[in-house]
């Protein structure tokens, strides 16, 4: 018998697929298992081109930087805090897209908690200056 992803991740992906807000999904092990089309537009690369990316690896793909332009340690990224500590996290940061351009974004991440414990986390990116999160 094959194993399905936890239902909460399946439903989260289904919801994210319908949103125009860039959103990222990691599983309980921190593996990046999905991001939506809006996030793909922001990064300059669709999820289908990239596929799943292991924990510790995906952070560097987007090069998150702080306001001073310094790389943000993986452990301090909101999505990592959410999945590891089981609590929401928020940050202002810059990400770099495939063409090298940098984008200022606000990131809110929250854990996906279920009766069986944490199943992962979701991060939503709000491009700076956007009122609806879809203005990139």
């Amino acid at each position: 018998m094959t194993t399905q992803k936890p239902l909460e991740l399946i439903l989260a992906r289904n919801l994210m697929s319908a949103l125009s807000t860039p959103a990222f999904l990691v599983d309980e092990g921190g593996v990046l298992v999905f991001y939506n089309e809006a996030a793909g537009a922001l990064l300059g690369k669709r999820f289908e081109e990239l596929g799943t990316v292991g924990a510790e690896e995906w952070g560097s793909l987007f090069g998150p930087f702080d306001k001073a332009g310094e790389p943000i340690p993986y452990d301090e990224l909101p999505l990592v805090v959410a999945v590891r500590n089981g609590r929401p996290a928020h940050a202002d940061l810059q990400i770099s897209s495939a063409d090298g351009a940098r984008h200022q974004v606000e990131v809110s991440a929250f854990p996906i908690l279920t009766p069986h414990g944490s199943q992962g986390a979701i991060a939503v990116f709000w491009p700076a200056g956007s009122s609806n999160g879809a203005g990139h």
Binding site: T3, K5, P6, I10, R13, L15
Partner: protein, 293 residues
């Protein structure tokens, strides 16, 4: 493994002359394992007839509840073995952060909805949350997984020898999802149904009815067929018939299902609409319909 359908209707019992052939009782499937162990999948009103048929059967049985909507538990207080002191009943179901399985079921088996309370049932009854990992009942290995429906809901897979039954009666896997494009592990319930000898799956709505019921937790005919195609089950029964669907309407849907299944490359003889009292025997790699009366 022997399978008998005691209730195939969804939502609410629908007795009457227009539902005689497919039946009006709500969800209940009886399963007899190779070692003689007895399972009941859901406890809709169909379990009343199952209980009457079990008069001389083993005094221990397991009831596997997919969820606690009334059409899946309404028959519990009319299940004759529950009123026999020599009977042991184990009721399995989904966990919820809100309350235990026993406490949630007791909301129905208590005043003013019921004349008896759980503690008054003469049988030896226990309640267990389904584990996330596989477990054994009799000669079978049981798997449960959360599936897309409203509220905590499980689908089940029963593997007994080389035969397997997947039971996902209330299921909307296509909600916000493209069943033809998604990877297998991203489709709700597909792991349970994969290559099953017999798949019993939600097929409540005709395609034209579905747009008015998006998010209600049930499948359209197209979605059920797409799910079955991805699952590659040997035989599929479309289940949980809408209470508004008469025998005549279900005959039409059955013909449409067979035709479209053939167009998808399937054997039209391997898909049908579930009919109350139909029986199936699941020998190795071949499913036989014993009767469908």
């Amino acid at each position: 493994m022997k399978v008998k359908l005691w209730g195939t209707r969804g939502s609410i019992p629908s007795p009457g002359p227009e539902t005689i052939r497919y039946g009006g009782n709500t969800s209940c499937v009886g399963v007899t394992l190779a070692d003689g162990s007895m399972l009941a999948l859901d406890a809709g009103t169909g379990i009343r007839s199952l209980g009457l048929a079990l008069a001389n059967e083993p005094a221990r049985l397991h009831i596997l509840l997919t969820h606690l909507h009334l059409d899946h538990i309404q028959g519990l207080v009319f299940f004759a073995p529950a009123f026999q002191p020599q009977t042991e009943i184990v009721i399995w179901g989904p966990a919820s952060p809100e309350a235990s399985l026993r406490d949630r079921i007791a909301r129905y088996i208590s005043a003013p909805l019921s004349p008896v309370e759980v503690r008054e049932l003469p049988c030896d009854v226990s309640f267990r949350h389904c584990p996330q990992s596989e477990w054994e009942i009799g000669s079978a290995r049981i798997s449960a997984a959360s599936v897309s429906h409203r509220g905590p809901t499980l689908g089940y897979r029963i593997d007994d020898g080389d035969s397997s039954l997947a039971y996902i009666p209330d299921h909307e896997p296509a909600l916000g999802a493209d069943l033809d494009a998604l990877e297998e592990d991203w489709i709700s319930g597909l792991g349970l149904a994969r290559n099953a000898s017999l798949l019993i799956h939600d097929g409540q709505y005709a395609d034209a009815e579905y747009p008015d019921h998006v998010g209600w937790g049930h499948s359209s005919l197209s979605h059920a067929l797409s799910f079955a195609r991805r699952a590659e089950a040997e035989r599929t029964l479309l289940f949980h018939h809408d209470p508004m669907h008469s025998d005549e309407r279900l005959d039409q849907l059955s013909s449409e299902a067979s035709q479209r299944w053939a167009e998808m490359g399937g054997d039209p003889g391997t898909i049908e609409l579930a009919a109350e009292r139909a029986e199936y025997e699941l020998p190795t790699r071949t499913v036989s319909a014993i009767s469908a009366t």
